[in-house]
Symmetry: C2
Amino acid sequence: VTGRKELDLTGEEVVHAAIEIFEAEGLEAVSMRTVAARLGVSPVPVYRRVGNKEALLDAMADHLLTDVVPAFKPTQGWREYAIEWATALRDRLGGTTDAWLLIGGRRSAYVEASKPLVEALQAGGFAEDAAVQACRLLIWAVAGFVVVETRRPKAAPRPRKTSRPGGSPHGISDEEADQLFMLHLRVLVGGLDPDEQQA
Amino acid sequence: VTGRKELDLTGEEVVHAAIEIFEAEGLEAVSMRTVAARLGVSPVPVYRRVGNKEALLDAMADHLLTDVVPAFKPTQGWREYAIEWATALRDRLGGTTDAWLLIGGRRSAYVEASKPLVEALQAGGFAEDAAVQACRLLIWAVAGFVVVETRRPKAAPRPRKTSRPGGSPHGISDEEADQLFMLHLRVLVGGLDPDEQQA
DNA sequence: ACCTGAACACCGTTCAAGT
DNA sequence: ACCTGAACACCGTTCAAGT
């Protein structure tokens, strides 16, 4: 076996520090320099552990979706579990102000969280590919809700035109959005059928 | 009437220049400085027209969703139109590499594009609030697809770990994703009903 | 070997002149 | 009035010393 060098700074620690900054101050406060500063080192060791900022964001996205979905209890039906699963995912992504910025375009981040749902669907009679497809549909539903409904934090420093006419005539409130999300899930889950070959 | 000063640089021109850079080189190439340079001026006039970068991105998002959806032809049913509408929106958002970055969190950008669909749904028997809700569901479906399936451009400069195990065991191909998007729309549209009070 | 300090080429934004 | 040049406080990233 090769000897493992003893390091006082691990990649884990770097990601952890980045997540702390992210949860406290939002994604734009996360920089290679602020992460390094929080760890009390220069930027160089951070680069040595995580490679570059893109890789750090990848790792943060993975971390964010670790252990978020509930376990599948065989006593419950797959439809019930699918709704629980999607709601847990939404709560996680909607809970942090700009989690969607971190998660968008990083399909691989969903892989771990998907596994219990895919298994539950297979237990419910879905073929493997159909289960994967159904899971993807639910991911889209969650991601769409989060990306559209999560407002980005603002600073409002110099608005040239105070209010555009027609600014939000078709808006809905937060509680309505919540109920509507549940409706979306019910329509989607209700429309899925293990016995129907899809796509 | 107050006299209108004659200007050789308008807010329109600024947004147009920004959109050109965005479509050619992606969102990260759009900076107040690159936009100014393309217009042959210093950053200051750009700030004078659009306020700040956040406001420029808002205007770009509005611009991106202008005139993208087809008109509703009364000969067609609302279900058919809803699918056409969502597909047009998806093509627009998926066509530019990181349009979702621009569109995420900016609910107001969807308002104009939503109007024809809301009208079509009302013509199909939906009450106004039910039509707005159904439209929102479709926006989520489109946004979710785009935000998850659109890969971000990469540079791959210094990957510390070449491949994580379990990288994408549950991935699907692009064509599958397209067909799956259509399935998503059919399930969603099929589940909508003007006569059912929802939410 | 691994760190720090300094540097390079950028950002968003604003200030003090210039015309 | 509106521009430009320069500046401030940041970025991501890398280089040349230092230990």
